[in-house]
């Protein structure tokens, strides 16, 4: 039989945990609203840029002389992965699911005999990948997935990647992040960013415009197609990274809200159970004491 004092202490402690989780849930819900509108506001730019690029790329007669960011470096030896996670935990499977996908990709690329490099955005991803793949991590960026993510951060990373690519340090690159679908659903997404690949059809919000990819060839180009591509492709890197940051942040808040909602509910159930035990124990004690008194009186 657990004693009453211990039970009281436990109930108090679960209660205070519940207060914290429910506060976190409410904070996540507030942040989610802003983050979601930021993520949605950021989609048009990325979608349109990709659409124009896809159109341009399709209209090029050959890939000869095309910028390397489109045509590839001609080799396929080194792969760079940008793994976007959160800086903080307590958001359910959010970080783990990205890391799990990253591990899978690393294994696949390694099995194909490629060298893999990792850039971790967010502390949690770094922490989880460090033990197994510490030597692959070339950099970690912290505190750039946050409320009102700054395009300048994405730009810094984007131009760094494009410099590294120009220097021949990697041949292909992808971004792994949680795409925000709804508050309760985040989809782990792998996007190839180098060489440029047209977006898979199910992604993005502006699908209605997908069909006008065809007549792109009729555009007057100023300057030439190649030059436009050379100017836009490096920018596209930054834009795609920026998109990943926004989507990831919104997903993080959504995941945290769900996780904390569950935690609050679980804590409530636990409190109910502990209260029941507490009351039973108390009653049992009273009964026992009564029996002791009565049988003591009878013995006299």
């Amino acid at each position: 039989m657990p004693n009453l004092k211990d039970l009281r202490i436990r109930i108090a402690s679960v209660r205070s945990t519940q207060k914290i989780t429910s506060a976190m849930k409410m904070m996540a819900a507030t942040k989610l609203r802003q983050a979601q509108s930021a993520a949605e506001a950021g989609r048009p730019f990325a979608d349109r840029l990709e659409r124009v690029l896809a159109g341009l790329a399709a209209s090029l007669p050959t890939l000869d002389g095309a910028p390397k960011l489109l045509a590839g470096s001609g080799r396929d030896d080194a792969h760079l992965m940008v793994v976007v996670t959160a800086d903080r935990g307590l958001c359910g499977g959010f970080n783990s699911s990205v890391v799990r996908e990253a591990r899978r990709q690393i294994a696949a690329h390694r099995a194909a005999g490629k060298k893999v490099m990792l850039v971790c955005v967010g502390r949690k991803g770094r922490d989880q990948l460090r033990r197994q793949y510490g030597e692959l991590i070339i950099d970690t960026l912290e505190n750039i997935t946050r409320q009102g993510a700054d395009y300048a951060d994405a730009q810094a990373l984007g131009s760094r990647l494009s410099d590294m690519f120009d220097a021949g340090e990697f041949d292909t690159a992808s971004v792994i992040y949680n795409r925000f679908k709804s508050a309760i659903s985040q989809v782990v997404t792998v996007r190839q960013i180098v060489p440029f690949a047209p977006p898979p059809p199910e992604e993005g919000g502006e699908e209605t415009k997908a069909e006008d990819n065809g007549p792109k060839a009729m555009y007057i180009m100023e300057p030439s197609e190649e030059e436009i591509l050379a100017d836009l492709l490096p920018r596209n890197l930054s834009v795609q990274i920026f998109r990943a940051l926004l989507e990831s942040y919104a997903s993080e808040q959504g995941a945290r809200m769900t996780a904390m909602d569950n935690a609050t509910r679980n804590a409530g159930e636990m409190i109910d159970r502990l209260n029941l035990t507490y009351n039973r124990t108390r009653q049992a004690n009273i009964t026992r004491e009564l029996i002791e008194i009565i049988s003591g009186a009878e013995a006299l």
């Binding site: 930021a38 506001a41 950021g42 048009p44 730019f45 990325a46 349109r48 840029l49 124009v52 341009l56 395009y151 994405a154 730009q155 131009s159 410099d163 220097a167 007549p215 009729m218 555009y219 007057i220 180009m221 100023e222 300057p223 030059e227 436009i228 100017d231 836009l232 920018r235 930054s238 834009v239 920026f242 926004l246």
Partner: protein, 139 residues
């Protein structure tokens, strides 16, 4: 009325900044400024850091500093995708001067391979400063 107006949108990475109609939009293209009137031939152009001007009647109703991106013109209107876009009147002159100064130093400090990037940054910063100075000059 809708026929003699041109629809234009200015989109930055974080949002759609403007989506309006005007009589003419003058865009700082990579190969020189060009004006967009209704029914313009389809055109794709890069952007040069500079000032985008929106005309209604004969007056300029909006002036925006834009940098880095592209302009897509269709007969229905035009879309400007810019990495950076800010109404000229909101530019802080002091900040612009500082930015130009920093860019110049970065350019001078840049090594061989960093030069082209630093030069682009410097160009944008200088155009930014020019935009800031001009608006004060006219006001």
């Amino acid at each position: 009325m809708a026929d003699d107006k041109v629809r234009y949108e200015v989109v930055v990475p974080s949002e759609i900044l403007l989506s309006e109609e005007a009589d003419m939009v003058v865009i700082p293209g990579g190969e020189g400024d060009f004006g967009v009137l209704p029914g313009h031939a389809p055109l794709l152009s890069t952007l040069r850091p500079g000032v985008l001007e929106v005309y209604d009647g004969n007056a300029v109703t909006r002036r925006l500093f834009v940098a880095g991106g592209l302009a897509e013109v269709t007969p229905d209107g035009c879309t400007v995708l810019a990495e950076e876009a800010i109404p000229v009147e909101e530019i802080d002159r002091e900040e612009a001067r500082q930015r130009a100064e920093e860019a110049r130093q970065a350019y001078e400090a840049a090594q061989e391979e960093g030069r082209p990037t630093a030069e682009k940054v410097l160009r944008a910063a200088e155009a930014y400063l020019v935009a800031a100075e001009n608006v004060r000059g006219k006001a």
